[in-house]
Structure formats: structure tokens, C-alpha cells
């Protein structure tokens, strides 16, 4: 274990510059945790007290500066008074540092985020090295936290409220060049020159008392005081935009606004105390706990391929085939080409295949136009995609993604044709969204190498891939399929073959509940507003329109046919049937579903909706509608776990977040249960079942875990 003192190396050179170099040798990146903060406090005090030290340089011995706070430490916060006290201690040290009179500079040699950048803000001079991929900013809000090291007080005093608020509220990460332009750093130098440049500045200031702008007499807040027409405008607008966006589901942005509004109207130290109060509120909020768990810890576990079968050597894919150049196939080809994989893009006609490649070309052109890619690079990526109609061209592919029509016969045919050319250990992966893999695998000559890879649309933006393990899929195939997904820089969740897999199955309960409520006479405006107010990006009725009602109707019929007497029909299916067959309203693509989609202007609820689905005299409370829409997803997720469709809470929550934007303030469908409390959630489900139907009944697994106290997130 690294001794506290070892975390910050302290050296004073002949010029009187004391260098405090952070170097946590037990980690790949420096983070702020109890040990490193203690070391920092000690080093700072030493530099302040040391008569030989006439200037102070904050630096890192690692490739990056400081990545931020240790999130294990953050998750462990439970006591408000204790947390506030330790936060105030950090404030005291940073204040001592910036008011000691000696000049202080930061040599930002790489990424400096969150608390790491807040340490830099307490320095008088910041030099950033122009390293590609280095990021500078205060992204705490994205995890439900806020900058608790003085960021909400220093940043606006540095660049004004108007410029600071977006950076704080969105948690924007800037590259060093952007950071310079935004006024976050003073100097931009070539990578490797940071310490040298900082030293030059320090040497120029030795002997002169150095202070922060906000400690200078006559300091005026850039952009004017809070109580001014400009200040009014900034907060009037900032408050509105933030509440419109969060619907009160995310406390951190509101806390940030209060830190800036309240703190900037007082002296600096009082402002820091105000920030500390709000930091504690945010850090202890259930929303922050859920966001840190799901977005950081669980996401890391999933991306680290925790579910990858042991003992299988990693596999690299240099050449991959894509069958079907439609929207999905084209998107997959693009993703592969961007990852450096040679792609054979196959369709029934050369035109269709070329159209698929054009899709990639359009996406690449956009990147070039935005300056995110050079033309030569674009051409190189595009060159990797080979459009063809010849199955023979698939020779040498280590993996083939089948992305043709959702039709068993068509899929079987292309699978057979592909396998005739592929090596026996080449993987055939179907991008089906609804057809069980084990059934499709019957068309394969080597079902052990057959697997499902369910991509999400649009492929270029959606990071999730559902890896669906068929009855005969081998562990090697699973492991290699996960390697392939990671090579595409996407996130795989592992799902066992079943109807609807995981994402479609759970997500569709949200839409279905909305339709059931419509059939009950709940106001459609209330239904869709409730979905959004719960934190979902779109209401269930609008979503049903987007997915297309005729598609949903076809799926319902197929499912009914497949399940026979096992099929449980709900009012939702009747609503869909009536819309499609009775009323001819199939959804957004036809301009008419639950909503009308005029050529110009926003969508509007179909004016005849109330005629066909009369409003009930008694409307439910908003909270009830929200609970129905959100809890049914959790119940279904638990059923999935009970049936072995998905075997752990991490995949379930990460899959929900990435697959259908389940509101991360609740953690995920499983996280929501934890947030509410297992017993409370089971009780709530029983009440919902009594009032609205057996589909809400808590599954046995949930009842069992409520009693045993086990967690859904087993390691």
C-alpha cells in the first residue's frame, strides 16, 4: 500500500520552486480519495511553510493529470455532517494555497476532470499541454454530483455566470485548445512542455505577492453582478431550461444553479460553505448513488466483459461480412469500418449494396464537415467497405452479421449460403430483434458458432449490443462475439435466448402499459406526459407511433400464433389492432397514429382519439400513472432474471440505459427496485396488481430476495 506521503512527491529546486507531483502508483490514473487528499493537504502545507519554497508547482508524474474523485469514496458517503466537514477541509486547504502569497501554477499534462481540475482552479496559473484525447472540465453533474472543491465558486468568478453555467450544468469536457478559448486555462503548450512553461511563469512571479482575481481589491464579477438585468436573464433562463429538462428528477443541476446564484452574492468563503451544503445534498441523493453505480461501476463491469466465459483466448476480427445492406446492415458496416475492420457488405443487388455503403459515406462526410476527421482518413475508412452480391466474397471472414428481413426463410437461406463459404470456426451472428436464436440456428450447419447480435438503431449512435446466446451456442462463440462487440467500441450485454430477448421484452411493457391505460380511458396527454415526467425521453403513445403500430400488430399476431393457448391478450393488443385495422392509423411513418404528424409544426394528438377511446370520468393521479409505466418495467426485468434470460442486475440496468434510455436517476429497472427498497417495491407491486392486473404481481424471485436481503448485482 502506498504511504500517504508517497502519493505526492515533494521537491524544491535551486530556483525555489516546490514541485508537488501526484503519482498514485497503484492506479493507472491519479484520483482524489482519502489517502491522496491527505497527501495533498500535507504537501500543500509543507510548501506553504517551507522558507526554501518561493513558488509552488502542481504536477502529475502520470500520463494524465488527475481523473477526478474516486467514485468508490463517493458512493460510500452516508453522513451529511461528516461529508460537509471533510468538504470544508478541502476548501480550507485550497484557500490556504491560493492566498498564501506564493505564486502557484498547475502543469496540466493530460486529462484534468472534476476535483482534479478544481485543484487547478485554485492555482494562479494553469498551463495545459495540447495532448490529443486530454479532457478538461467539471463533469460531476453527469453523475448526479456537483463540483465540491470550489468549482461552482471559482469558475464563474473566472469567466462569468453566463459562460460558466453551461459548463457546470452540462458537465462539458473540453480539449486543451477549447479550454484555453473558454478561459479555463491560461496557456497552451506542446505536450511535454507543461512544467517548463509553468516554471517560467513562476520564476517571473517569485517575490511578488500573487493572488487570485477574486481576492484582488475591487474585484468585479465578469459579466456583472448576479442582481442585474444580465444576471436576471441568466438565471431566469437557466432555471427554466434546467427544470424543463430534469422535470425535478435530477437534483444536481438545480443544486449547481443554487451554488452559483447564492454563492456569488456573498464573499468567496461563504460561497464555498454554500457550495459544500449543496454538494452534500447532491452526493447523498439516491439519484447520484444510482447514476454513479449504473453509469460508472456497472458500465465498467459490463465493458470489462465480466460475463465473458473464462479461459477463452481473445479473438481479433480483421474481416467481417454483413448480410443485408439495409439501415441496420449499413450502420453495422460503418461501425466496423470505423473500427478498422475490413467489411464485406452483401445484398441481393449491387445497387442495394452500394446504397448501404453510401450510408457510411454520408456519415463520414458529416464527420469531415464537422472537422472531426480528415478527408484522407474518411477515404481510408470507406475503402474498407466492399459492396457485393457474391457470397464467395465472404471467404476469410471470421464473423458474419446477418441483417436481412425479419423472415425465417430469408434468414435461413442467407445463413446457408454464407456458411458454404465460411471457415468452420467463423461465427454467424443474426441481428434479429424478435426471432429466437435457437430457432434460427436450425438453419445453421454449426449451431455452436451461431449467435444473436442485436444492434440498435441508429447503429452509429447506439452503443448497446444484445448478445443472445442460443441453446447450442458455445462459450467460445460467446466470448469471441463479445470481443467483436468491444472491437466496435460498443457495449455488450449477455442475454439467453428467449422471446423478445431482454431489451424489447422489458421496454415493450412501457409501451403496452400506455396502451392499456388509453383503453381504460386515461387521458392520452396524461399518459405521455407521465412517461416524460418519469424521466423517459418519449411518452409511450408517441413511442408506439415511432415503432409503428402495424409492426407491433404483426409481432403480436406472430407471438399469439407461436404461443397458442399460452398467449395472454391485454387491452393493449386490442388497441393496436383497432388502430391498424379499424382506423387505418399505423404510426409516424404514415403521418398518422395516436398523433397526427403534419408536414410543418409539431405532432398533435389525433383529435378523434377521445371519440374512439373515451375519457374516463375519473382520471388517475400523475404518480399512479408514473408508477404503472415505470414499475412494470422492473417487474418484467425481474421475470427475465427469474427465467434466466439475463443473469445479473448490471447487464439489466446498463442494457436499459443504453437500449431505451431508461432514466438513469432511477438506476435502471433493477436499480429502481433497490432505490425504492425491495420490500416497499414488492408491496407497491401487490397494490398495483390488485388495482390494475396480475401483470404487476411481484415475481417469486423478488419476494424471495426481499426476504433474503440478497442483491441483484452479484459479482
Amino acid at each position: 500500500m502506498t504511504m500517504t506521503a508517497d502519493l505526492f512527491h515533494y521537491t524544491v529546486d535551486a530556483d525555489g520552486i516546490a514541485t508537488l507531483a501526484f503519482d498514485d502508483r497503484e492506479r493507472s490514473m491519479n484520483v482524489l480519495n482519502r489517502a491522496s487528499l491527505e497527501a495533498f493537504y500535507g504537501a500543500v502545507q509543507r510548501a506553504i511553510d517551507d522558507p526554501a519554497a518561493q513558488a509552488i508547482l502542481l504536477a502529475s508524474n502520470k500520463d494524465d493529470f488527475i481523473a477526478g474523485a474516486d467514485l468508490d469514496m463517493v458512493l460510500a458517503f452516508t453522513d451529511a455532517a461528516e461529508l460537509k466537514a471533510s468538504t470544508l477541509r478541502l476548501h480550507r486547504v485550497l484557500r490556504r494555497l491560493e492566498t498564501c502569497g506564493k505564486p502557484v501554477a498547475a502543469a496540466i499534462n493530460g486529462t484534468a476532470l472534476g476535483g482534479g481540475f478544481e485543484l487547478c482552479l485554485a492555482c494562479h496559473h494553469r498551463v495545459a499541454g495540447d495532448r490529443p484525447k486530454a479532457l478538461i472540465g467539471l463533469p460531476e453533474v453527469t453523475l448526479g454530483l456537483l463540483p465540491g472543491g470550489g468549482g461552482t465558486q471559482r469558475l464563474p468568478r473566472l469567466i462569468g455566470v453566463r459562460a460558466a453555467l453551461p459548463l457546470l450544468l452540462e458537465g462539458r469536457k473540453l480539449n486543451p485548445s477549447q479550454a484555453l478559448k473558454a478561459g479555463l486555462v491560461h496557456e497552451l503548450v506542446s505536450p511535454g512542455q507543461e512544467r517548463q512553461a509553468a516554471r517560467v511563469w513562476l520564476l517571473g512571479r517569485i517575490g511578488q505577492e500573487t493572488r487570485q482575481p477574486w481576492d484582488m481589491p475591487g474585484f468585479k464579477l465578469p459579466g456583472g453582478p448576479v442582481q442585474s438585468p444580465a444576471g436576471f436573464e441568466a438565471f431566469y433562463a437557466g432555471n427554466a431550461m434546467t427544470l424543463a429538462r430534469t422535470a425535478g428528477n435530477y437534483p444536481a443541476p438545480h443544486c449547481i444553479l443554487s451554488c452559483v446564484y447564492e454563492g456569488l452574492q456573498t464573499d468567496f468563503d461563504t460561497g464555498c460553505r454554500t457550495e459544500a451544503g449543496y454538494f452534500v445534498v447532491a452526493a447523498l441523493s439516491p439519484e447520484a448513488k444510482a447514476m454513479v453505480r449504473t453509469q460508472f461501476f456497472h458500465m465498467n463491469r459490463v465493458n470489462a466483459l465480466e460475463r465473458r466465459p473464462q479461459g477463452v483466448a481473445p479473438r481479433r476480427f480483421s474481416r467481417v461480412g454483413v448480410l443485408g445492406a439495409g439501415m441496420m446492415g449499413a450502420g453495422i458496416a460503418y461501425a466496423q469500418a470505423m473500427a478498422g475492420i475490413d467489411t464485406v457488405l452483401l445484398d441481393t443487388t449491387q445497387e442495394a449494396a452500394e446504397r448501404g455503403k453510401d450510408h457510411a459515406r454520408r456519415l463520414l462526410d458529416q464527420r469531415v464537415a464537422k472537422g472531426r476527421m480528415g478527408e484522407a482518413q474518411r477515404d481510408a475508412v470507406l475503402a474498407r467497405i466492399r459492396p457485393t452480391t457474391a457470397f464467395a466474397d465472404l471467404e476469410g471472414c471470421g464473423l458474419v452479421v446477418e441483417a436481412v428481413f425479419e423472415d425465417r426463410a430469408v434468414k435461413a437461406e442467407v445463413t446457408r449460403q454464407a456458411e458454404a463459404v465460411l471457415a468452420p470456426d467463423a461465427i454467424v451472428a443474426s441481428n434479429t430483434s424478435t426471432l429466437p436464436i435457437s430457432g434460427l440456428a436450425q438453419a445453421s450447419a454449426r449451431p455452436a458458432a451461431f449467435i444473436g447480435l442485436h444492434f440498435f438503431s441508429p447503429v452509429d449512435k447506439m452503443p448497446l449490443v444484445e448478445v443472445i446466446v442460443g441453446a447450442h451456442t458455445s462459450p467460445q462463440t460467446l466470448a469471441h462475439a463479445m470481443d467483436y462487440v468491444r472491437a466496435l467500441r460498443k457495449t455488450p450485454i449477455v442475454v439467453n435466448d428467449s422471446r423478445g430477448f431482454y431489451t424489447s421484452r422489458v421496454f415493450s411493457t412501457y409501451v403496452r402499459e400506455g396502451l392499456i391505460m388509453l383503453a381504460e380511458g386515461v387521458s392520452p396527454a396524461l399518459i405521455d406526459n407521465a412517461g416524460r415526467l418519469a424521466g423517459m425521453p418519449v411518452g409511450p403513445l408517441a413511442l408506439a407511433d415511432e415503432i409503428a403500430l402495424d409492426l407491433a400488430d404483426r409481432v403480436n399476431r406472430q407471438t399469439a400464433a407461436d404461443l397458442g393457448s399460452q398467449w395472454v391478450r391485454t387491452p393493449a393488443e386490442e388497441v393496436t389492432e383497432r388502430m391498424v385495422h379499424g382506423l387505418g392509423r399505423i404510426g409516424k411513418k404514415a403521418g398518422a397514429g395516436f398523433y397526427d404528424y403534419p408536414a410543418e409544426g409539431p405532432k398533435r394528438l389525433w383529435s378523434d382519439l377521445a371519440h374512439h377511446f373515451p375519457l374516463a370520468a375519473q382520471q388517475p393521479e400523475l404518480a399512479t400513472v408514473i408508477h404503472r409505466l415505470m414499475y412494470i418495467q422492473s417487474v418484467e426485468a425481474v421475470r427475465c432474471m427469474e427465467e434466466g434470460v439475463i443473469d445479473n442486475g448490471c447487464d439489466a440496468d446498463v442494457g436499459a440505459l443504453l437500449g431505451w434510455a431508461f432514466p438513469v436517476c432511477r438506476g435502471g429497472p433493477i436499480g429502481q427496485i433497490q432505490q425504492v427498497g425491495m420490500r416497499e417495491f414488492a408491496g407497491a407491486c401487490r397494490a398495483l396488481a390488485d388495482a390494475h392486473g396480475a401483470r404487476f404481481a411481484p415475481p417469486a424471485l423478488l419476494e424471495e430476495m426481499a426476504v433474503s436481503g440478497k442483491s441483484f448485482y452479484h459479482a
Partner: protein
């Protein structure tokens, strides 16, 4: 209990609330002193008998700060023994001031009190005094703050008042105001504002647009759509999730005008009036305020009216004339529907859409307006009510004597 009587009511004309407006060159203290002096001069009042001067003002900062009531009383030459106090219940402040005056008299704690209000929106614009409601992030979030124009549009959407209906109402307000001006119906209370030489600066309400038509109103773009898009529509739907969207239908032509003005009402007991040889014109029977949803904000008038009528043991049909402040057309339309009041009893001489709404003064102006009209038509009972920011409503019921 002592009764409180209205002995007189005066008001300045309403000048356009921007530079170039007829009263822009008059300081707020001067506007207030003008009406205070007028009350005194019309009755040769011994102002040492005045127990208090209560003036409403919504932006009590800068030129309107530091208790403008007391300062204006001194400047008007009132006897120094007459104290003054400023009051702020936003748009109802002028009426609130009169209610407070009446309460002092009815409680037997004062004999003669002046209630009134002043607002120079051209010199101290709306929002100058800031405040936590819109600005403090914690407050704005908890109260689901939306600006009043969005509230007006929520009302129009929720109760189905079309753009056409709102504009029709606005045209009618202009027509009634123009007729009232032509027939001199305001003359009894109107006092001119004079410059330092005594030369009149403005002697008539200058905002009235007799040429307003449905056609020219229909060309005006909705004024609050931008605010809605900024985020306030989404916030409104968080508060009222049974609504699909907020339709933006209000604009400058069917909302109250921004103007400058002041008003004062002399209120007192029977004995105090008699001692000074004053003849009472009306009795203040009941008054009160209520709170309602801050986001919806502007539906207070009907609720305040019901409360006041109940206290007086009266019904809507017992009231001959109403003055319902035309903050926005939908406010009045909603009032009419909520209480089933015939439109020909409400704002019969036009309202703030035509005349303008000098925030802190309007309530007191409306009291004089309804009283003048009751006398003109020889009717008996009048009620004044205004919607108020942050979700309130204030009402006052008077009857002639």
C-alpha cells in the same frame, strides 16, 4: 363595527409606459403627490385629520423606493402628522391599499385614511426590483415559476379561449374605452398631471386605440411563445400533465398595456367625514384576498370574488357592475365563465387592454371607475377584482349610499 365609506376617488390619466409617454417626464413622487393633492384640494381637506396614507407600488426601488407613500404625502403638502406606508401585493396593490385603509377605519383605529397607488412603468420598469421568485433557482423550481404571459396562455388553452375570442374581447374593451372617453365618463375622477409651471403634461388616457380591429389584432404574433420554448411550456405541463401543450394566443393587443399613473381614494368613518363636511359616496362592504396556484397564477379573481360575496352574504346576481382587471383577455373570459357573469356588467367602460395597467395604481383606479359608473347609471353595488402575481386574487365590494 364602524363602517368605512368612500368619500372620493381621483386618478391621473394613464401615460404610455415608455420614453416619449405623456407622463415619462413626471417623477413617480410627483404622480402620487398629484393625486394626494387633488383629494385635498377638491374638498379643502384639513390633512391633519388624515390618519394614514397607504399607497401601493409594485417596483418600490429607485425613484419608487423608500416608502413613496410617506414621501409623496410630504411633497403634496399634507400636514406632517399624516404618516404613510407602502404596500405591495403586486397588481392588486392599489386595491389592497384601499382595503387596508378600510380595515383601519372598520376596526375603529382610524377616522380618515387615503388608499391608492402609483406606478411609473416608464421610469422604473417591471422586474427592476428583481426578487427570488423567478431568479432564485430553488424558489423557481419549487413553485414551478412561469412568467404571467405563459400563465395567461395556460388559461386560454385549458379553458378553450381561442385567439379569436381573446381578440374579440380586446376589440370590445377598446370600443368601450373610446366611447367612455368620448362621453366624458372618466371626467369625474380624472385629474391632469402638470409640469413644474402648472402646465398640463397629460389630461387624458393616451393608450386607447379606437382603431383596433380584429384584422389588425390578428397580425400580432403571440408574445409568449419564445418564453414557452425556453422551457416554461414544459414546466407548465409538469404542473398540468393532463394538458397536451400550451397554445400561445396572447399578445400586446389582448394584454394589458404598460403605462404610468397614480390614484388615490379617500376612505373614512361616518363621523370623521361628517366632521369635515364630506358626503359619503359608497360604503366598503367587504374585501379580501386569496391565494391560488402560482403557475396558473391568474384565476384568483373569481375565487376572491366568491370569498368576498360570501362574507357579505351576497350572490353574483346582486352585483350591478364589476371591474375585473384586464391583465390578459383570458383572465376576464375565465372570470365570466367561472361565475356566469353577463359580459355587459363587466368593464363597461373598457379596461386595461385599452387603458393600460399601471401596476400599483390600477386597483385604486378601478374603485373610482366603478363608483363613477354606478353613480352615472344610478345603480347600487359594485365589485372590483384583480388577478395577482404568484397566484393571488383581491376583491372589494362596495355599495352606494
Amino acid at each position: 363595527m364602524n363602517h368605512a365609506y368612500i368619500y372620493d376617488a381621483v386618478r391621473t390619466p394613464r401615460g404610455k409606459g415608455r420614453k416619449g409617454g405623456g407622463l415619462h417626464g413626471a417623477t413617480p413622487v410627483h404622480l402620487a403627490a398629484t393625486v394626494l393633492a387633488a383629494l385635498r384640494d377638491r374638498h379643502a381637506l384639513d390633512t391633519s385629520a388624515i390618519d394614514d396614507v397607504v399607497l401601493g407600488c409594485v417596483e418600490p426601488v429607485g425613484e419608487q423606493g423608500a416608502n413613496i407613500a410617506r414621501i409623496a404625502a410630504l411633497v403634496a403638502g399634507y400636514d406632517t402628522v399624516a404618516p404613510g406606508v407602502h404596500v405591495n401585493r403586486f397588481c392588486a396593490s392599489g386595491l389592497e391599499a384601499c382595503n387596508i385603509a378600510a380595515a383601519q377605519v372598520m376596526a375603529g383605529q382610524a377616522g380618515l385614511v387615503v388608499g391608492g397607488g402609483v406606478e411609473s412603468m416608464s421610469r422604473v420598469p417591471m422586474m427592476t426590483s428583481g426578487g427570488a421568485w423567478a431568479m432564485d433557482p430553488d424558489v423557481a423550481r419549487r413553485t414551478h415559476f412561469v412568467p404571467q404571459g405563459v400563465s395567461a396562455d395556460i388559461i386560454a388553452t385549458r379553458w378553450g379561449y381561442s385567439r379569436h375570442a381573446l381578440d374579440c374581447y380586446a376589440v370590445e374593451s377598446q370600443r368601450r374605452a373610446a366611447r367612455a372617453q368620448a362621453e366624458g365618463r372618466y371626467a369625474a375622477s380624472l385629474v391632469p398631471v402638470r409640469d413644474v409651471n402648472g402646465i398640463p403634461l397629460l389630461d387624458r388616457d393616451e393608450s386607447v386605440r379606437p382603431d383596433a380591429t380584429l384584422e389588425n389584432l390578428s397580425t400580432l404574433a403571440p408574445a409568449f411563445a419564445g418564453q414557452g420554448e425556453l422551457g416554461f411550456d414544459a414546466i407548465a405541463l409538469q404542473r398540468y400533465p393532463d394538458m397536451e401543450r400550451i397554445e400561445h394566443r396572447h399578445h400586446a393587443g389582448n394584454s394589458s398595456g404598460i403605462v404610468d399613473g397614480a390614484a388615490a381614494v379617500l376612505i373614512g368613518s361616518r363621523e370623521a367625514g361628517a366632521r369635515l363636511g364630506l358626503r359619503p359616496r359608497a360604503r366598503i362592504r367587504a374585501f379580501g384576498s386569496i391565494g391560488s396556484d402560482p403557475t396558473l397564477m391568474l384565476t384568483g379573481p373569481s375565487v376572491a370574488t366568491e370569498k368576498v360575496l360570501a362574507r357579505a352574504g351576497m350572490a353574483v346576481r346582486d352585483v350591478d357592475l364589476f371591474e375585473v382587471n384586464e391583465a390578459f383577455a383570458a383572465v376576464v373570459l375565465r372570470f365570466l365563465d367561472a361565475l356566469e357573469v353577463p359580459a355587459d356588467r363587466v368593464n363597461v367602460n373598457g379596461g386595461a387592454i385599452a387603458l393600460g395597467h399601471p401596476l400599483g395604481a390600477t386597483g385604486a383606479m378601478l374603485l373610482g371607475t366603478v363608483l363613477d359608473e354606478l353613480e352615472r347609471q344610478d345603480l347600487n353595488t359594485g365589485l372590483v377584482t384583480l388577478c395577482v402575481g404568484a397566484g393571488m386574487g383581491t376583491a372589494t365590494l362596495i355599495e352606494r349610499v
